[in-house]
Amino acid sequence: MAREEAQRTDDHRVRVQTPPGWSVSLLGRPLTVLGRLRRDGNGSDGKRKMERSFALKSGAVRWMDVPAGNRRGLSDYYPHLMPSVGFGKSSSRVYRCRSETKRYITSPRVAETLVRILRGKRKSCQLFLECNPGPGILTRALLESGAKVIALESDKTFIPQLKSLGKKVNGRLEVVYCDFFKLDPRSRGILTPPIMTSDMLFQYLGIEAQPWSKGAPLKAIGILPPKNERNALWKLLHDLYSCTSVYKYGRVELNLFITEKECRKIMANPQNPGLYQALSVLCQIACGIKLLHTESCLSFGTYTANGQLAKQKHRESLEQNLCFIQLTPHKDLFTGTLTPFNYDVFFHMLRQCFMKRGAKLIDHLHSLSPIDAMHILKQIKKNKDVKVIDMYPEDFQHLFETIECYKDDNYKWLYDDFMEDVII
């Protein structure tokens, strides 16, 4: 019976379909549409639930959109699987808290530092995409430095304030009610702002796609949502590797505040095996990572969803530092074997390998590819005792390429796109 419930949640996800008539052209002025939605966003349960589920789903996972009816006819006579803890802390049911707290830059000093780092000595009119500016301290500083800013704010309460800021700067500020970290939700649900597709957003902003080989079309600045940093990171990586969402428009450069703990993890390699994980490999393969600045949590303000300044309760979180890092996608990311066409196999390989990080690589290979594992190891010039945590990110990439380019076998991978669909 518990399964039944799970299925029901699935159904919700499935039943919401992309509205046929909903396209960018229909929007005309998206802001008016936003206005309407703001009006009716009066705390209806349904919508909130949906948002939340997007928040979850836009993580690393590709969930099922097969209608429940078409799935294997497993009746509720079977025990169902328990979530085994993988990489995020969030499991689909736990995430229930009403107010999603966010961090905002509230100190002018921090804002100044950031502007200095981001702008250097340039005076030219650079375009910044600021995610969840909140009270707009950094926005103001950026504008003052002469940059152009697009503010994507997911909290309605801040929007009037931001707009008034825009009035003084002669069109250099555009405010959009939009949640950057939830762009392009993977379930094709009804999109109600602040959830939107990147196409809608970029078309509205009039930003053209740029080829991958060109430079960054824009720089995004933001603070990863403190509650689910990892989910947000996974989503960004998925978008990056599949060249979708914002990355469809070119190599967007991200400048993010991230907790020091996570930061150390994504920059880890076999030299700090305790922190090394799938995310580290994926981040390092995809982007150049630069640590720009470190700032104590104390310098930030925390607001609950309705714009109230929240007290910071946990001592722990106060003592933590936030790192400001720059993620620049590599120009040559897709020039080799790894492409948006097969990246999911690479993802799967890493997720599986890091499930048992201490195990030997050869044991994992048996579950990854039907090709003789010894043969593969010989090709990548590793001995048979090599462990997962001994492999550098480049080694993984090499491993992937070796298998993907293997000539002798018709069947290279055991992974199957739809494996996820057939299971309970």
């Binding site: 029901r8 039943r15 328990m82 997720r351 039907p370 018709n410």
Partner: protein, 1229 residues
């Protein structure tokens, strides 16, 4: 031979055997070593043999025992010989006895001193020689015998008693045995009052958590013991009992029934010493022996032909314990042979004793007022008979018996025959070769696994060894090969696979084996059903069956899910290890090494990691190429070929050999079964008879429809008509999962590649979906083809609310339009004066047109369309294809054909029709609510009132919503204005329909939103707001129309919430007397470690967990209504049967012959009135108060008092006059 010599030598051990100073282990080894050395190795035997004979010389023992029996008959030195036998057994066992080194083995040192009469000594020798020869033959096959013997040697049999007093008694007993007859000790022991020695266990009324954990472990232990007994691994069971008993921590797990079970095992073997050990342990654990314990002891005494004095003492003690002698024969399940032994023992003490007649329970009569008429004796009633003769039916029985004995059915697939090219033939040959190889490999793996499990058991762990012995190796290997064959290309989750495998083993081991007895009884039973026989007085099938013999033995408890999964996982691992294929299949160029066929891969869903077993793509490819045209089904997944056994108890009925549960339930839950068993048998008669009756309907395949469907199926399919297309019609991904050409070229931009990927994924997904639909249809059609030209039966059982379902999953009348159209009644009935009219009306009903027209109008409409109907019947695929536009096209077509045949018959009234005509309840759930609450307005809208035209509740709700909308629109509510002209029946239908079954506003909104999106000219911007608005209005309208309904729903919900808060699951009894309990508890997690991967799953049926309040309360209203609609259906079924009608149902859709529709409708209405004339809600309230509020211990709880208040305020009923239903034509139509 030496063993015998030794045994013979020991014949006189009465005196010589027990020297005061017990020699140590070493001496014993020394003594035995020389004598036993070689022989010992020869006693081990291959597995089939040693299943029954694990413990050393069991085989020898048997011979000896047989001889003893023979000798007894000859009256020679019986006691002595018997002791020899016993000693031989015992001497083997306790060599590693631990705490108390055994002394008796000393016997071996006694030289040969033949004191026996030479006549039978000669016989023994002969036997011995014979046996020796047999063993030598077996020896060749042996591999690991030495080790085996070694572990057998270590099995412990002597208890380590925790109570000093008992221990000294035991010692005294052992030592003193020769002098004072050791049997007396039993009596002494028995007189000891059970002492609550095991202080911690009894004193600490452990809190819920640990207690529930214990419960789970107890279940596992019990099923382990049970399995050991079944497979003849009794010494192993004893060993485990002893090891558990000797550790106080583990002793807490042991229950009386476990001791009893092991004792019974020894009693069957006539091993008194071991039985006594167990008795000591039982006492030691502070338990009081019950009837079963005494039955075991006495049985053993009977077998050993104990002297009367001992038995008398034993009986006396039993009386002192307050146990009735009669009870031994009535309350303890015994086989005939056991009964005889038991009686022999009792008769020794009380020669005049006659056992009570084997339970001929007083004919129990169901007391439910609803069923009074059904069980009223009336010699004039004519129950329907089948159209087949006794002889035909007997033939059918034999066919079915063969099928069930084979356990699987092989059915030819209806897929197109492939061209037998060289390729195909080659693939088939390769496959056959591989299978032979796998079979050998599987045997080997299985044996190795068994060995390691046996090893684990020896170490006192609850291993899977006895479970693995349940089926023969051949059977298990067959099962595994079948699994491999059926594994889908994309793999199967390991948990699912393991569960499935475990269950199959469980089901197969349950097969009963008294085939002959069954055949005789069944043959007599057929006299009731056959067309050419007579029975003395008309009675129901169950009554007839019960009159023919004793009731069935009680069924076995199901295994805990963890055992099922663990066993299945073990088997799956065997399969993974054994199945290998040459790598050349996968990569033609690579050298001929072996690679696995199955891979254990992981998949990620959300943050779960799921283990999957996936076949190598090359193997899938091979299967595809070989295109073998057989499908294998479990015999219980296929309809029966003879009338099912009538249901006589919650666990006996339906299939001939495979036990089936009357109430299906979530796997692992036992609460329903317990509840049913506790229920007085007569209370269940209604359900038993209704299920029997539904299963007794004979079916056949509608051949013409099948032909048409097959034609489409083997061609290109037709998704519009529900015939899935073959994979060749799917949008093919270019080259498997490979990148399409050009995808990897550098000039293609990453974004384009991403696009290609999406396209590929989409295609793969469509293909996968089509494949699963196709497979489903393939099963159904292949079975239909297999059963064409046969008569078959669909045995039924029910879910926990009493809703009935056919047992066979693939092919039954419950499925889609296509599935239903394939079936018709095997028995025909002449149409009679009105039959043709009903056919026509049914045809119009199937088209979905004219729903709101009178019956007359529908009939006229059919007459108008007669030309189209005849055209459809004659040229279904080439003509005007009128039928294809119907709501239920295939059934409509079948009906067209029937109508055509009838109208063309010379005399339509005499035309024999096999076609089932349905009558549907109009929103049956609401009908029950309206009747419960006596809502006048609601009753009218769901056709409880006789009106000229059928009412349509959906339209009425829509109209009511429209009224509200107009009001709002006038007041300027924007969304109400936007909705003008969009509120239709269709928009609200699904929500209204599901509201009865507890749909929430949230779910309702989603349903409505979906509908609104389908309307193209609806401004889509407003969908969300409009659906939100509409769902509110629908609920308001329902509130307005069915005021009673909402208050009843609320009352039920609130009661359930409070009951759940008091810590119990909601229970009630349906008006027909079926006890219902909601199996919703908080999840408990089960984890199985080791092997390929750890499996973790959660189960919501663990009764030791607190109830899940949310589910209990949301589930109660719909479940309660379902229990009412099932009662209504069963009542209708039973009364129809009494009137001689054929009747089947799909929940609220009732089927019968066209000629009988009017009668069925009348019965249906009458029974609805009868049902609701009962004070249903008051009865419920009374029952719940008694069940949940009468416990004085909890009466102070705040929840209980609140519950009491709620339950006492039963919702008030309205003013609707129920009798009016009797005249409502459109109640079911």
């Amino acid at each position: 031979m030496s063993a015998v010599r030794w045994g013979r030598g020991a014949a006189g051990f009465g005196r010589a055997l027990w020297p005061a100073g017990a020699p140590g282990l070493l001496a014993e080894e020394g003594a035995l070593g020389g004598v036993w050395g070689r022989k010992r190795s020869s006693t081990a035997s291959p597995c089939e043999q040693d299943r029954r004979k694990d413990w050393g010389h069991a085989e020898l023992l048997e011979v000896l025992k047989a001889r003893v029996r023979q000798l007894q008959a000859e009256g020679v030195a019986e006691v002595t010989v018997k002791r020899v036998a016993k000693r031989v057994a015992v001497a083997r066992a306790p060599e590693a006895g631990g705490a108390q080194p055994p002394r008796q083995a000393q016997a071996g040192a006694e030289g040969a001193a033949p004191m026996l009469s030479s006549r039978w000594a000669q016989k023994l020798d002969d036997d011995q020689r014979l046996m020796e020869r047999r063993k030598q033959r077996l020896e060749g096959k042996l591999q690991k015998h030495v080790e085996k013997v070694a572990w057998q040697k270590q099995l412990r049999s002597e208890p380590r008693l925790l109570s000093r007093k008992l221990a000294s008694q035991l010692q005294h007993w052992e030592q003193g045995a020769p002098r004072s007859p050791w049997e007396e000790q039993l009596a002494q022991l028995l007189q000891e009052a059970p002492q609550g020695w095991s202080g911690e266990a009894a004193a600490a009324p452990a809190d819920r958590g640990p207690e529930s954990r214990l419960e789970g472990q107890r279940q596992r232990l019990l099923s382990f013991f049970e399995c050991c007994l079944l497979t003849g691994n009794l010494p192993l069971a004893h060993h485990l009992l002893v090891t558990h008993h000797s550790k106080s921590q583990q002793q807490r797990l042991l229950t009386l029934s476990m001791y009893n079970m092991v004792m019974l095992g020894w009693a069957r073997q006539g091993s008194f010493k071991e039985l006594m050990y167990v008795f000591f342990m039982l006492k030691d654990a502070g338990l009081a022996p019950d009837l079963r314990s005494y039955a075991a002891a006495l049985q053993c005494m009977g077998r050993l032909d104990q002297d009367a004095g001992t038995i008398r003492r034993c009986l006396k003690q039993m009386a002192q314990d307050g146990l009735q002698l009669q009870g031994l024969f009535t309350a303890v399940p015994l086989s005939a042979e056991e009964r005889a032994e038991l009686l022999r023992a009792v008769r020794k003490a009380k020669p005049a004793f006659t056992p009570p007649r084997p339970p001929v329970p007083p004919p129990q009569v169901n007391t439910s007022p609803l069923l009074r008429e059904i069980y009223a004796k009336d010699p004039t009633v004519s129950y329907p008979r089948l159209h087949l003769s006794l002889k035909e039916l007997q033939g059918l029985f034999r066919q079915q018996l063969r099928v069930e004995m084979a356990t699987t059915v092989t059915v030819e697939s209806v897929e197109k025959v492939p061209l037998l090219t060289k390729e195909v033939l080659h693939a088939r040959k390769t496959l056959a070769g591989l299978r032979t190889r796998w079979r050998t490999a599987l045997y080997r793996e299985l044996q190795e696994t068994k060995e390691s499990e046996a090893h684990a058991a020896r170490e006192g762990r609850l291993s899977l060894f006895p479970y693995l012995c349940l089926l023969s190796e051949k059977e298990i290997v067959g099962l595994l090969l079948q699994t491999l064959q059926a594994l889908p290309a994309q793999g199967e989750s390991l948990l699912f696979l393991a569960h499935e495998l475990g269950l199959r083993v469980f089901k197969r081991k349950q097969l009963r084996n008294e085939v002959q007895e069954l055949e005789q009884r069944y043959s007599k039973y057929l006299h009731l059903l056959a067309s050419d026989t007579q029975v003395a007085e008309p009675c129901l099938p169950r009554q007839h069956w019960e009159a023919l013999g004793a009731p069935e033995a009680p069924h076995e408890q199901p295994w805990p899910v963890s055992v099922v999964v663990q066993l299945g996982k073990q088997l799956a691992e065997v399969l993974v290890r054994a199945a290998q294929m040459p790598s050349s299949l996968a990569a033609p160029r690579s050298p001929g090494t072996l690679i696995p066929v199955l891979y254990h891969v992981y998949s990620f869903r959300s943050f779960r990691q799921i283990g999957i077993l996936k076949p190598h793509p090359a193997f899938t490819q091979l299967l595809e190429t070989a295109a073998e045209r057989t499908l294998t089904f479990e015999s219980t997944d296929v309809p029966m070929l003879c009338p099912p056994l009538p249901w006589t108890s919650p666990h006996s009925g339906a299939f001939l050999l495979s036990p089936t549960k009357m109430m299906r339930s979530v796997e692992g839950s036992q609460q329903h079964q317990l509840l049913l068993e506790r229920c007085p048998p007569a209370e269940l008669h209604g359900a038993l008879d209704a299920l029997t009756q539904l299963g007794n309907c004979a079916w056949r395949v509608n051949g013409r429809i099948l032909d048409l469907v097959l034609e489409l199926f083997t061609d290109k399919g037709c998704p519009r008509l529900g015939v899935p297309a073959p994979p060749s019609e799917a949008p093919r991904p270019p080259e498997g999962r490979q990148a399409p050409k050009g995808c990897l070229l550098p000039e293609v931009s990453p974004a384009e590649k991403a696009e290609m990927r999406r396209e590929l994924a989409r295609r793969l997904k469509v293909a996968r979906e089509m494949q699963s639909l196709r497979a489903d249809a393939l099963y159904r059609l292949s079975l239909a083809q297999h059963l064409r030209h046969r008569v078959f039966w669909l045995p039924h059982n029910m879910d926990f609310r009493g809703r009935t379902y056919p047992c066979s999953p693939h092919f039954n009348h419950l499925g889609s339009d296509l599935a239903r159209a394939l079936l018709e009644f095997a028995q025909g009935r002449p149409l009679g004066p009105h039959g043709l009219n009903w056919l026509k009306i049914h045809l119009v009903n199937l088209t979905g047109l004219k729903k709101r027209e009178s019956l007359q109008a529908r009939r006229d409409y059919a007459d108008e369309l007669m030309e189209d109907i005849l055209d459809s019947a004659d040229r279904p695929m080439t003509g005007r294809k009128w039928w294809m536009e119907a709501d239920e096209p295939w059934q409509a077509l079948a009906c067209c054909m029937e109508v055509a045949q009838a109208v063309r018959a010379p005399d339509p009234t005499a035309y024999v029709s096999h076609f089932p005509v349905h009558q549907d309840g109009s929103c049956n759930g609401l009908q029950h609510y309206a009747a419960l609450g006596r809502d006048s307005v609601g009753a009218a809208s769901v056709n409880l009132l006789p009106l000229d035209l059928p009412q349509d509740v959906y339209s009425e709700v829509a109209a009511q919503v429209e009224v509200f909308r107009r009001q709002d629109a006038e007041q300027g509510v924007r969304v109400a204005q936007v909705l003008e002209g969009f509120i239709s029946r269709k928009v609200v239908k699904q929500t209204v329909m599901t509201v009865v079954y507890g749909v929430t506003r949230y779910g309702g909104r989603l349903q409505i939103e979906k509908r609104l999106r389908e309307i193209h000219d609806f401004p889509q911007d407003f969908v969300w707001e409009a659906s939100h608005y509409l769902v509110r209005q629908v609920f308001n309208s329902l509130q307005e129309m069915f005021s009673g309904t909402r208050s009843i729903q609320r009352w039920l919900t609130e009661s359930a919430r409070l009951i759940s808060h008091t810590g119990s699951a909601v229970e009630w009894v349906t008006p027909l007397g079926i006890p219902v309990i909601q199996p919703y508890h908080r999840d408990s997690k089960v984890m199985i470690k080791g092997g390929l991967q750890s499996l973790t799953f959660s189960s919501s049926v663990d009764t030791s967990q607190k109830p899940n309040t949310l589910k209990q309360k949301n589930g109660f209203p719909p479940n309660f209504i379902h229990s009412l609609d099932s009662s209504h259906m069963m009542l209708t079924a039973l009364h129809c049967y009494r009137k001689g009608l054929t009747f089947v149902s799909v929940h609220d859709c009732f089927w019968t012959h066209a000629a009988d529709v009017a009668v069925m409708n009348q019965v249906c209405r009458e029974q609805f009135v009868r049902l609701h004339s009962q004070p249903i809600l008051h009865n419920l309230s009374r029952f719940l108060i008694k069940r949940f509020c009468s416990d004085p211990r909890t009466s102070k709880s705040i929840w209980v008092s609140r519950l009491m208040d709620t339950l006492l305020s039963v919702p008030k009923a309205g003013t609707f006059n129920l009798e009016q239903v009797k005249h409502s034509t459109y109640f079911f139509s």
